[in-house]
């Protein structure tokens, strides 16, 4: 039998206080010939053995820590007492101690449910509850931050799949932590009542384990989809950078922790060095990622128009050449000039927003012409009204006297045309056309002809 086939790694999904569920699971695994060997940060490791009837007991030792180089003196005392009754340590998961015995009808490790509940609660307060509260706080914080961005600029924000995925992941995290904390509180109160009534702890709910597996499956579906989606937009390096950052920090964290444990470093030293290493790794990877992004950005440096000023100084005007959906040259004869084109297009499962700005300037850097367009689109009928309203929203800084008014032109064949007015007068040359699923806004520097408007909106209505 190869080494590989003698070992099995499983991603188990138990809540920390589900001692009964873990006991039953390990007994089932042993009866199939897989004995628990150790619990690593990500996987539970089993070794091949002959199928056997083994009793497992899960108990909690609040003093124990993942940073201990080995069992503490008190923990060893506790394990010695257990060994006297035939119980051997199989594995440890933070404060959780998993023991097994081959004895028939062994004496249970815990015979006082009230004291057992206190030990579980003390272990939970040391480990599970602080991390759950921290994740809950982080989820709420992130949802508020991302949510305020959505409220402020809904179309721009929700047209980014990254924002949607991040929102979804933090929302899942929030629900999971609420379920975890609520589930524990419910079990704790039920156990207190059950001890009063029957002297036994309440059974933990098996659905918590199923929910955990469901969430994990959901995340495993979402993340590859996210990577694929970002790859389509040629931004997959952002996701890969995020994954590399998380994986890098975790790898450093667990490697340093494991190394210091093997070196028998005291718990406090291990904690300080592990946290410092994770912090430094985070900073290091951030600096590396940041410099990579800067390199990528600097490789896209624009051309520069240098204009010598009367005083001999030089002013530089950047000339960008982003791909745009509509060019000034498509609408009118343009004089020989320097044209700078800037554009951005973002597409998510909800919205698409594409805008472009073209500016023409003469050899002295003086602005000759300008055109701006913005397309806001959704393929979801439920969001069409919302999309249109937000696309035409002038923002909180626009004067109240400004509004979009229907604007008639003879023989206009496209959907209704709107023009921006300030009071009774038109406000510059800003026009909008609303299709069922798309709203296009166009801003020109000078009054366009009907033919130019028709040409521009025809192109932008299909682009």
């Amino acid at each position: 039998m190869t080494e590989k086939s003698r070992r099995k790694y499983r991603l188990e999904n138990f809540v920390f206080y589900d001692y009964a569920g873990i006991q039953e699971h390990l007994q089932r695994m042993a009866s199939r010939g897989w004995m628990l060997e150790s619990i690593t940060p990500f996987f539970w490791r089993y070794r091949r053995s002959t199928p056997q009837k083994v009793s497992f007991a899960v108990t909690y030792f609040p003093e124990a820590s993942d940073f201990d180089p080995g069992p503490t003196e008190n923990q060893q005392l506790f394990l010695d007492l257990c060994a006297q009754e035939g119980w051997q340590l199989a594995a440890q998961w933070a404060q959780m101690q998993i023991l097994y015995t081959h004895r028939e009808n062994p004496l249970p490790l815990q015979t006082d449910a009230g004291r057992e509940l206190r030990a579980i609660h003390a272990a939970m307060k040391k480990n599970f509850l602080p991390s759950s509260f921290l994740l809950l706080f982080l989820s709420v914080f992130q949802l508020i931050i991302q949510g305020s961005r959505v409220v402020e600029k809904p179309l721009e924000t929700l047209s980014e799949d990254t924002v949607l995925f991040v929102l979804l992941l933090w929302f899942i995290m929030l629900l999971l932590q609420l379920l975890n904390l609520g589930g524990y509180l419910r079990w704790y109160v039920a156990s207190q009542k059950s001890i009063e009534a029957t002297g036994q702890l309440a059974k933990s709910r098996s659905y918590m384990c199923k929910i955990g597996k469901g969430v994990l499956a959901l995340v495993l579906v979402i993340v590859p989809f996210w990577i694929w989606d970002m790859a389509v937009q040629q931004k997959s390096f952002l996701v890969l950078y995020g994954i590399a950052l998380s994986a890098g920090i975790l790898t450093v964290l667990f490697s340093v922790q494991g190394l210091l444990k093997r070196l028998k470093a005291p718990k406090e030293i291990n904690q300080v060095f592990t946290l410092a290493a994770a912090f430094l790794a985070g900073i290091g990877i951030s600096i590396f990622g940041g410099s990579m992004m800067l390199q990528q950005l600097s490789s896209d440096d624009p051309q520069v128009l240098s204009v010598v000023q009367p005083d001999g100084g030089i002013v530089e005007y950047p000339i960008y050449d982003d791909p745009v959906l509509l060019r000034l040259e498509d609408l009118q004869d343009t004089p020989d000039a320097y044209y700078s084109r800037v554009s951005e297009e973002k597409t998510s499962v909800l919205f698409r927003v594409a805008w472009g700005l073209q500016q023409g300037m003469d050899s002295q850097g003086r602005k000759l012409s300008e055109m701006y367009y913005c397309i806001s689109e959704t393929s979801l009928p439920l969001l069409r009204q919302f999309c249109r309203e937000k696309a035409l929203d002038l923002g909180e800084y626009a004067p109240e006297s400004q509004r979009w008014e229907p604007y008639s032109l003879p023989q206009w064949e496209l959907p209704s045309l709107y023009r921006l007015y300030d009071g009774e007068k038109p406000e510059g040359y800003r026009y909008a056309v609303c299709w069922e699923d798309r709203t296009v806004i166009l801003r020109m520097e000078s009054e366009p002809s009907q033919q130019q408007l028709t040409d521009a909106f025809t192109v932008l209505g299909k682009a």
Binding site: T59, L81, C82, E85, E116
Partner: protein, 107 residues
């Protein structure tokens, strides 16, 4: 209203303290209780460890010897008072029971 800690002892606490009137190794307590109660009362090793820890914290017992990983414990004066208090409480219960039973039989 919750009970004051150790105001009323559980059966397991009572037998542990009973054994510790005489200096005793933690490891021997489980067997002593089993023998004393003819196997009726069993204290699991996990429970024993936690209860000994609680008693030490409360000054009800003290550690007398440490031999390697073996530790010896003995009841303190406070512990003796707690044990005596529990005995008196149980005795009162028993006497109340007898008095009431006698009353029932006399009816």
């Amino acid at each position: 209203m919750p009970r004051e800690k150790f105001e009323a002892l559980t059966e397991q606490m009572f037998y542990i303290l009973l054994c510790l009137q005489v200096e005793c190794y933690g490891m021997d307590i489980m067997q002593k209780i089993r023998t004393l109660t003819d196997g009726r009362v069993n204290v699991g090793p996990g429970t024993l460890y936690h209860l000994l820890d609680d008693f030490l914290q409360a000054g009800i017992i003290r550690q007398t010897q440490v031999q390697g990983r073996r530790r010896c414990y003995l009841l303190t004066e406070k512990g003796a008072a707690v044990l005596e208090g529990e005995y008196q409480r149980l005795k009162t219960l028993t006497e109340d029971y007898r008095r009431f039973q006698k009353g029932v039989e006399d009816l």
